[in-house]
């Protein structure tokens, strides 16, 4: 079900990424003060935007899970958050590199976006340990959804409050993401955003397809072997599985 348009999506994503890479390296202007290193901005910021959107998407999917009690929404939510976590690590690393290049330190407190990001990542880093600590799959899914919704609401609020406090504590605000980018930089930025967004979507669909296939396989094995316990060993796991007909009403 999820594998259908995967190839098309993969090709589009590869094309977009390649095009963007070329644009970043050869077409985008070099920044006067920061030089070549500034180009990491085209990776860092789209990654950040996609990561945060992914977390919020995970929260929205979790809302659907609690509303419909369909376990598939929980799997979707898990995969969304899981992939966003990986992207998020990328944000912190690229952000650190950029900070070192631009301001000479691996970490700066007066960049409120970076600080908020760290806080959000610290919160989401507990998602998988939380899931792993609950054995009952039904309860695990519900607890995870409650967490995903709470954390999803936390994201925008956290950014707002940290930004407010940063303005208060460090009067000099470094606001380099808002829209006053010169023409070419803007185009490349949007290209980068689109490509990384596509990459997220691709990875999400890929993992969903993989989970779906494994679940089908297990189900077939169960049907063939006549023994319920054979194909589904009870291993503790943080990852939800796709049961065929959804969860409790």
């Amino acid at each position: 079900m999820y594998g259908k348009r995967l190839r098309g999506l993969a090709l589009t994503t590869c094309a977009a990424l390649t095009l963007t890479l070329v644009a970043v390296l050869f077409w985008a202007p070099n920044d006067a003060t920061e030089g070549f290193l500034q180009k990491i901005f085209y990776v860092h910021v789209p990654l950040a935007i996609v990561t945060l959107s992914g977390f919020i998407a995970g929260g929205l999917m979790a809302i659907q899970h609690l509303r419909t009690r369909d376990a598939r929404w929980d799997v979707r939510s898990y995969v969304a958050i899981h992939i966003s976590l990986v992207f998020g690590v990328g944000v912190l690393i690229t952000g650190s590199i950029w900070a070192k290049g631009a301001w000479g330190h691996w970490w700066v407190w007066d960049e409120p976006t970076l600080v908020s990001f760290l806080l959000v990542m610290l919160l989401y880093a507990t998602y998988q340990p939380l899931r792993f600590a609950i054995e009952d799959p039904d309860r695990q899914a519900r607890a995870a959804s409650v967490f995903a919704i709470t954390a999803g609401v936390f994201v925008p609020i956290c950014f707002t409050i940290v930004r407010l406090s940063s303005a208060y504590v460090h009067p000099r605000t470094l606001d380099n993401i808002s829209g006053d980018l010169p023409g070419r930089m803007q185009v490349v930025f949007w290209m980068a955003l689109a490509s990384i967004g596509l990459l997220w979507l691709l990875l999400w669909r890929y993992e969903m397809a993989s989970k779906h296939a494994s679940a089908q396989l297990r189900r077939l094995r169960r049907l063939l072997s006549d023994d319920e316990d054979d194909a589904a060993p009870l291993r503790r796991s943080a990852a939800p599985t796709m049961t065929h007909a959804g969860s409790a009403r």
Partner: protein
């Protein structure tokens, strides 16, 4: 409905009465839950003494860690709120433990009482524990570390404490319920609640910094507003999601 039974005089009401009985009011249920909560706490002293002792010990740690005899302004704010935060986390961890271990959830879920009553009662209990904690922690702070006048900071400080407590109560109850039926509850409780409580610390610390400054300044309203809004948002979230955590 039912066929007649022997020993019917053992029955306490007519069979239909149970079906017609009105569900208990929110107020009576929350009252009963809160009374039970406080009674158990008063008999076991599991939460409040530990939290209070912890806060005093933490002041000593700060004294040695920061190598300062007194703190004022933003440093005072920071020390006070971080200490209160960590002490609160101890309370959050213990909040649902008795229920989880003694079948309290089942007992409650089997009754026709509104699920939100448990949320309300637990949040109120946590709020009360935090007040008890602050009755010890704030004077201790003034005694041990505070370089400015507590009296000058007082009315403003009470407002900030109230708003901070509300935030901790709302988030703490939600996180406590989330963490309690897991295998690593003592670890997950702090891990989940601390990031969510950082904005509360931000708001409280920035609100009290001028109060602890020498000379003392006024209470910045913007942070009170921020705190209030944050509390409101998460109180609503807790209210909406709590029921899902209670089910088995």
């Amino acid at each position: 409905m039912s066929a007649l039974r022997d020993g019917a005089d053992e029955r306490l009401e007519t069979p239909a009465a149970a079906a017609l009985r009105a569900p208990p009011t929110m107020r009576s249920v929350v009252g009963a839950l809160l009374r039970k909560e406080l009674r158990v706490e008063l008999r076991t002293f599991e939460s409040v003494p530990a939290m209070s002792l912890f806060s005093v010990t933490t002041y000593v740690l700060f004294h040695f860690g920061l190598q300062k005899d007194t703190v004022t302004g933003s440093l005072a704010s920071g020390v006070l709120w971080v200490t209160l935060l960590f002490a609160s986390v101890l309370g959050i961890n213990r909040l649902f433990v008795a229920d989880a271990e003694q079948g309290g959830f089942d007992g409650f879920l089997l009754s026709p009482a509104d699920r939100s009553a448990l949320l309300l009662a637990k949040a109120l209990a946590l709020f009360i524990y935090l007040l008890a904690l602050e009755l010890v922690a704030v004077p201790a702070f003034a005694l041990l570390l505070l370089g400015s006048s507590l009296a000058a900071a007082m009315p403003g400080l009470l407002v900030v404490l109230a708003l901070g407590n509300l935030g901790v109560a709302a988030i703490g109850t939600l996180v406590g319920a989330l963490a309690v039926r897991t295998r690593a509850r003592d670890l997950l409780g702090p891990l989940l609640s601390l990031p969510l409580l950082v904005p509360v610390v931000i708001g409280c610390a920035l609100a009290t910094t001028p109060l602890f400054a020498v000379p003392a300044g006024g209470l910045p309203l913007r942070w009170l507003l921020t705190l209030g809004l944050y509390d409101l948002v998460f109180a609503v979230i807790a209210f909406a999601l709590f029921d899902f955590l209670l089910e088995d």
